[in-house]
């Protein structure tokens, strides 16, 4: 079978390192499809990532320039590269913990500068690679290896955060909405300015098994049930709304 996206994969890469049921493979595919539909030149693409499972989406898999940096610092490294060579199309792909917790300061400042960076934040609501610790995106009440009785704190709304900081393209989709996600990725790539796409990606290994969703399909079903559009959210009572995730475009 000829794999349609193979030409975007680095020579020598045989398989992805992701766990069964991880959403990052769907996200990886969606990013490559967006690049393919826009005929992007991989020789002018720079993919920057931090530390964590999502940081491995581009590195080493993508067949462009890749810069796998330190935990939390992807946006700072990307800022230097983009400023010095504006001809590069710079896409930052990293996780929620990397971009919004340890890298939170860089995130709001990069959004404030509105530099032309395309940021894809794979949000699995947990620290996956390190063993399932609570994240700044774990919903209140959910269990992790460091919150056995449920997370006592509220999570960040990442889209509101970056929009408030000045990002000029902001969207949120789940890997269960691949077609809308690909369209959003294409818009982000074409957009000149700081674009941010939060992508909900299930982590059955670390998040699901602690929260009564052991099997990958249970997490997929859960995302399908919870992700709604802004229009769908309008008529809902506050209690119903509290467990929903609103997806769509928020900026511009």
């Amino acid at each position: 079978m000829v794999r349609a996206m193979e030409k975007y994969i680095r020579t020598g890469v045989k398989a992805t390192p992701f766990c069964p049921g991880c959403g990052h493979g769907i996200l990886m595919n969606s990013i490559l499809r967006a690049l393919d539909e826009l005929n992007m030149d991989m020789k002018k693409m720079l993919f920057v990532s931090g530390i964590g499972c999502a940081a491995w989406i581009p590195s080493p898999h993508f067949n462009g320039d890749t810069l796998h940096t330190l935990h939390g610092r992807a946006l700072a490294f990307a800022t230097g590269a983009k400023l010095y060579n504006p001809d590069l199309c710079v896409m930052v792909i990293s996780g929620d913990g990397d971009l919004s917790s340890i890298g939170g300061n860089h995130l709001i400042h990069a959004a404030r500068r509105n530099l032309d960076l395309k940021v894809v934040c794979a949000n699995n609501m947990i620290y996956g690679m390190t063993g399932g610790q609570v994240a700044s995106t774990t919903p209140k009440g959910f269990k992790s290896s460091t919150t056995g009785e449920g997370n006592p704190h509220r999570p960040f709304d990442l889209c509101k955060l970056v929009a408030a900081a000045g990002a000029t393209y902001v969207a949120r989709y789940s890997v269960t909405q691949p077609l809308a996600l690909i369209q959003a990725l294409k818009k982000a790539i074409r957009h000149v300015g700081f674009s941010f796409i939060e992508v909900l990606s299930p982590c059955p290994t670390q998040f699901g098994r602690r929260n009564l969703m052991d099997r990958p399909e249970e997490m997929i079903q859960d995302l399908l049930r919870r992700c709604i559009s802004e229009e769908e959210a309008e008529g809902l009572a506050e209690k119903e709304l509290s467990e929903k995730i609103i997806t769509g475009e928020f900026e511009p």
């Binding site: 320039d65 796998h68 330190l70 800022t79 983009k82 860089h106």
Partner: protein, 379 residues
């Protein structure tokens, strides 16, 4: 690999500059075209001058949100092809350590100027110290090498920043200019010549950017956007950049090479200066601002007929072992005055066969000649 001579971007002449201004000019002369920084006393004048000068020469300046972002941005810019620099002082230098390790492990040329102030912690922000010398060598985790230079004058803020860029490009290593508040804020004459010698990183298409045939070699370094499809990672990697995080052989080979490429070239990298050492029975080993006071004391004692000399360390890391070892065999006593609790004195003890005495002061002030005289009388 060879160097080239270019016309100085600043007109030839003698100028009355501060050390921090001279360092910025040295960077511009070396070809630095990217600066990212964060304000911190007593280094901020370097950033302020770079903001103006980079605009004039067509470079990029950005003030980042903190020091971690600053050094990370210069590493990103360096891989995009820039000669890049940041400057800071103790607290910022502490924050930069993880990224300095990243630059060492990914063999990224970049220059960091540390205008040292009196620490630890916030300490005395406007006062002088030399407390970051060991941090410069050991500040990031794991075994790696940096190059660290120690200017003692406004002239050397220019010369050694320029040399720092050249060494950084040649050996693909982060290079530190370990200045201090006194040198940074000192004003004195700076001579700028009509031509400057420049080294550039070597490029070779298709060659592995993280491996060489020769042990301790320096691989070529392409830039992003050149079609090389670079794979850069701070994880252990093979010659082409593929992560190899459980291969003991790849790890030890890489760690060994990034250390050996500096240590094997130590004689090329390190510079020292001798004063009156031919017939000296006692010698001072000094660096940075303290070497100025020490030399004054040596001149005075020579007038009294005392057989004392001085070895000045212009390079701190890699440590000039050969010069220090030779001196230790030649004299009976070595005295190391410094503005910390004996950081370099401890290193000197490793290589000197003779008695080594540490003269230290950590009160936020430069060590005056009378203090050294007083200390010498006691020993």
């Amino acid at each position: 690999m060879i160097s080239r001579w270019i016309k100085s971007p600043f007109p030839k002449g003698v100028y009355y500059f501060s050390g921090n201004e001279a360092a910025a000019e040295g960077a511009i002369a070396a070809g630095c075209r990217f600066y990212a920084g964060y304000p911190i006393t007593p280094s901020s004048e370097i950033m302020e001058r770079m903001a103006v000068r980079l605009k004039e020469v067509g470079g990029i300046f950005i003030q980042m949100e903190d020091e971690i972002a600053s050094i990370s941005a210069i590493i990103g810019a360096s891989w995009a092809g820039a000669k890049a620099m940041t400057a800071t002082s103790g607290p910022g230098f502490s924050l930069m350590q993880e990224s300095i390790g990243y630059a060492a492990f990914t063999e990224t040329p970049c220059v960091i100027i540390d205008v040292q102030r009196a620490g630890p912690c916030t300490g005395q922000a406007t006062r002088v110290g030399s407390g970051d010398i060991m941090q410069a060598k050991w500040g990031s985790h794991g075994d790696y090498q940096v190059i660290a230079l120690s200017p003692w004058s406004v002239q050397e803020m220019y010369d050694l920043t320029l040399r720092g860029f050249n060494l950084s490009e040649r050996y693909r290593v982060p290079t530190l200019v370990m200045s201090d508040e006194a040198i940074g804020h000192l004003r004195e004459n700076l001579s700028i010549h009509s031509k400057v010698e420049i080294w550039d990183r070597k490029k070779k298409r298709g060659r592995p950017p993280f491996g060489t045939e020769e042990e301790g070699g320096v691989p070529p370094m392409p830039a992003f956007g050149e079609g090389e499809r670079l794979l850069v990672t701070g994880s252990t990697h093979d010659a082409f950049g593929f992560r190899k995080t459980d291969d003991p052989e790849v790890h030890s080979r890489l760690v060994d090479r990034i250390n050996q490429k500096i240590l094997r070239n130590r004689t090329e990298i390190t510079e020292t200066e001798d004063y009156y050492l031919e017939d000296s029975e006692r010698a001072m080993i000094a660096y940075g601002f303290t070497a100025r006071t020490s030399l004054y004391v040596v001149h005075q004692l020579r007038k009294e007929g005392r057989k004392i000399g001085m070895l000045r360390l212009k390079t701190l890391w890699p440590f000039p072992e050969e010069a220090v070892t030779t001196l230790g065999k030649r004299v009976k006593k070595v005295i190391v005055p410094e503005m910390n609790l004996g950081q370099v004195a401890g290193e000197v003890k490793k290589f000197c066969a003779c008695e080594v005495i540490s003269l230290h002061q950590t009160n936020g002030e430069v060590i005056g000649p009378e203090t050294i005289m007083e200390m010498l009388k006691k020993i």
